[in-house]
């Protein structure tokens, strides 16, 4: 079990009639002992697309087999695991009896042997794959449950409603990192799945990159030590929560995920934690008070396995000193910018696809500008494959005429990855 701390970064001063309170809360988990494997049970399922398209090119299926084998090698002893194959239905690849097995050198070898015989044929019905994984996870009730979903195509053999239905069933029962290989899958579809199941989404443009990516996903999953962490936000009577967003390492809007505890308190899910640090941006509207008044605009409590642990306070103080009230907190400004960056990329790519070049140019230009200002080098590199940058500080760009599909999808999937604010040493 980790130790959690929470710190608030905000400008608590509001002008007369000011009502909007913004704060960034940094949550850090530490002390999870990587060797204390037995303290937290884990379950892991790898879901591999084995639809017909996985055989063109043939390297795709081969890479998926190798990557899954590499992932299996990283599953530590005693973790319940299994491998699921996906076509227009889901089927257990290993073990074949529809349960999970405890990892050991013998079962890992058996699983890899089973992988070697995979054939690619049939269609794609991701909801059915997730539903089977969910059934299998039921056999590991107290474990931290994690899945990897690999696909190369769109969800063609079931309706969007069917997928949504399965997702709402699986929500809160396991986490799932999603990976798309090649360029025939749909970014929004996988993002929706990853978002509901509190996982990440990314593109694996080259089959040969799959192995490293799978290995690092499993290692991260194995590093999770605390299963169920929620953010509990109390707000005063009459206040409105405008949003609660995870802003680092990626942007995830949690506002709609609130589970109400009472009229003034709601819990937001964050899934499992290892030794890591995440930032949250919270915006609350409160009723304006008189100059000189101080109130609590939010009490942010970490709830670990149903136990409230540490907390951070979000305050509001009304002042007539404009020097105080007009200051914008660095952290809040930084993450407001990162959110705008993600939006600008999303809107820009959408406009580009729709053939609206002027809008795409303005939006992607703004994205280049923010990425430059905030030092988000990774996003800048991705942007440069889609636009030619003339003046990064002014945001002047030209759309590239020929853009590789994979580059565009990489920019789309990774646009929510934020640059962490650099904090000067205290």
């Amino acid at each position: 079990m980790s130790t959690f701390t929470a710190q608030t970064y905000q400008n608590e001063y509001l002008p007369l009639d000011g009502s909007e309170v913004n704060a960034v809360v940094t949550v850090t988990a530490s002390g999870a002992d990587a060797s204390a494997a037995s303290s937290s049970a884990a379950a892991e399922i790898v879901i591999v697309d084995t639809s017909g398209s996985m055989s063109s090119p043939r390297a795709k299926l081969r890479a998926a087999q190798q990557a899954t084998a590499a992932a299996i090698d990283c599953i530590r002893d005693d973790v319940a695991f299994g491998v699921v194959g996906g076509r227009e239905r889901a089927y257990p690849i290993y073990p074949e009896n529809g349960a999970l097995v405890s990892a050991s050198s013998a079962t890992r070898a058996e699983a890899k042997h089973a992988l070697a015989g995979l054939k690619a044929r049939g269609g794609t019905a991701i909801g059915a794959w997730l539903a089977l994984a969910d059934q299998l996870f039921v056999t590991a009730p107290n474990a931290i449950r994690h899945a990897i979903l690999l696909t190369d195509g769109q969800n063609e053999h079931e309706t969007r409603d069917e997928l949504r239905r399965v997702l709402s069933t699986c929500e809160g029962r396991f986490q799932c990192d999603c990976r798309g290989v090649g360029t025939d899958w749909e970014v929004d579809e996988l993002r929706q799945i990853a978002s509901v199941l509190l996982g990440t989404v990314d593109i694996i443009a080259e089959p040969s990159d799959m192995e490293d990516d799978f290995r690092s996903m499993i290692e991260r999953a194995m590093g999770k030590r605390t299963g169920d962490v929620s953010l509990r936000l109390w707000t005063p009577e009459g206040a409105d929560v405008m949003f609660v967003k995870q802003v680092s390492p990626t942007i995830e809007d949690l506002t709609g995920r609130a589970a109400r505890v009472d009229a003034q308190t709601a819990d937001y899910p964050t899934g499992a934690w290892g030794n890591e640090s995440r930032d949250y941006h919270i915006c609350v509207h409160v009723e304006p008070h008189a100059i000189g008044d101080e109130m609590l605009a939010g009490r942010f409590t970490l709830v670990v396995d149903d136990e409230p642990t540490s907390q951070a306070l979000i305050r509001a103080i009304w002042t007539d000193d404009e020097q105080l009230s007009t200051r914008i907190n660095r952290e809040v400004a930084h993450y407001t910018g990162q959110a705008e960056l993600a939006d600008a990329i999303h809107d820009g790519l959408e406009a580009r696809t729709a053939g609206d070049d002027p809008t795409a140019t303005v939006k992607l230009g703004r994205a280049v500008q923010i990425a430059t200002e905030s030092g988000n080098e990774a996003t800048m590199q991705l942007l440069k494959r889609v636009v030619d940058v003339e003046d990064a500080h002014a945001g002047t760009v030209r759309l590239k005429r020929a853009v590789d599909d994979a580059d565009e999808m990489a920019l789309d999937t990774r646009s929510t990855k934020t640059e962490r604010i650099r904090r000067s040493a205290p």
């Binding site: 701390t5 929470a6 710190q7 608030t8 970064y9 905000q10 400008n11 608590e12 409603d161 949504r164 239905r165 399965v166 997702l167 709402s168 069933t169 109390w234 707000t235 005063p236 009577e237 009459g238 206040a239 609130a258 589970a259 109400r260 505890v261 009472d262 009229a263 003034q264 409160v286 008044d293 101080e294 109130m295 609590l296 605009a297 009490r299 409590t301 409230p308 642990t309 540490s310 907390q311 951070a312 306070l313 305050r315 509001a316 103080i317 907190n329 904090r423 205290p426």
Partner: protein
């Protein structure tokens, strides 16, 4: 230990009022914390206050409702008092779903229009659990009382509440942790999530911007027993 805030609210948290957020005098809270102020200690856990006057269960100070019987500590009203005494013959109940203009005008923000033609309907309560919600994609199909069908109420959650049968044949409403809450009759406070609140004949359940569900006992209760 409880504290009293400048507005007179009794609060289980001693730094800021748990109701309105006002700073509690003498709380020793720094007026202007440095940015990045480290984690504060948790407020003292709420001490057990007066036990529930209805069932005697311990009352956790910041709980609005009794864990034992659903007694409303804020309104001081007994949940059980509203329940009719167990009937000797089996009763039939109905839920009437309607749009309530008066309620709408009380709670809804500007810019939202009251539905012009709302399809009112009655749903027979036959002992099953009935889900109230908005055409979701739950694994169990759409809710039995689906508010999409009748002039959709935007403030109703996908799975908002359920009606569950009680031992005596009457019904209780259980809010499922909805975003915008459920209230009963004239009491504007939301009922606690996941706590069944028994309903008496004629009780009105309010949810969303205008949706009201009135439960009624029908006289056709004879079942030939």
């Amino acid at each position: 230990m409880t504290a009293t805030c400048p507005s007179g609210h009794v609060s289980a948290t001693s730094d800021y009022c748990e109701q309105c957020g006002a700073k509690v005098a003498g709380s020793g809270v720094e007026a202007a914390p440095a940015p990045g102020q480290p984690t504060g200690p948790l407020p003292a856990p709420p001490a057990a206050a007066q036990p529930c006057p209805d069932c005697g269960a311990a009352h956790v100070a910041d709980d609005r409702f009794c864990e034992g019987c659903g007694y409303n500590f804020v309104a001081g009203s007994s949940a059980q008092a509203a329940v009719p005494s167990p009937a000797t013959t089996r009763e039939d109940w109905e839920a009437h779903v309607a749009a309530d203009r008066e309620y709408f005008e009380r709670v809804s923000p500007r810019g939202i229009d009251f539905p012009a033609d709302y399809r009112q309907r009655a749903v027979a309560l036959d002992g099953r659990e009935l889900r109230i919600g908005r055409g979701g994609y739950s694994a169990d199909g759409p809710p039995e009382i689906d508010l999409v069908e009748a002039g959709e109420d935007p403030a109703v959650s996908r799975l908002h509440a359920v009606l569950v049968a009680q031992d005596d044949g009457s019904y209780a409403v259980v809010d499922q942790g909805s975003t915008n809450g459920t209230s009963i009759n004239e009491d504007p406070t939301w009922i606690a999530a996941n706590v069944p609140v028994p309903l008496a004949d004629g009780d009105v359940v309010h949810l969303g911007m205008w949706t009201t569900i009135t439960v009624r006992r029908t006289t056709a209760g004879a079942t030939g027993m």
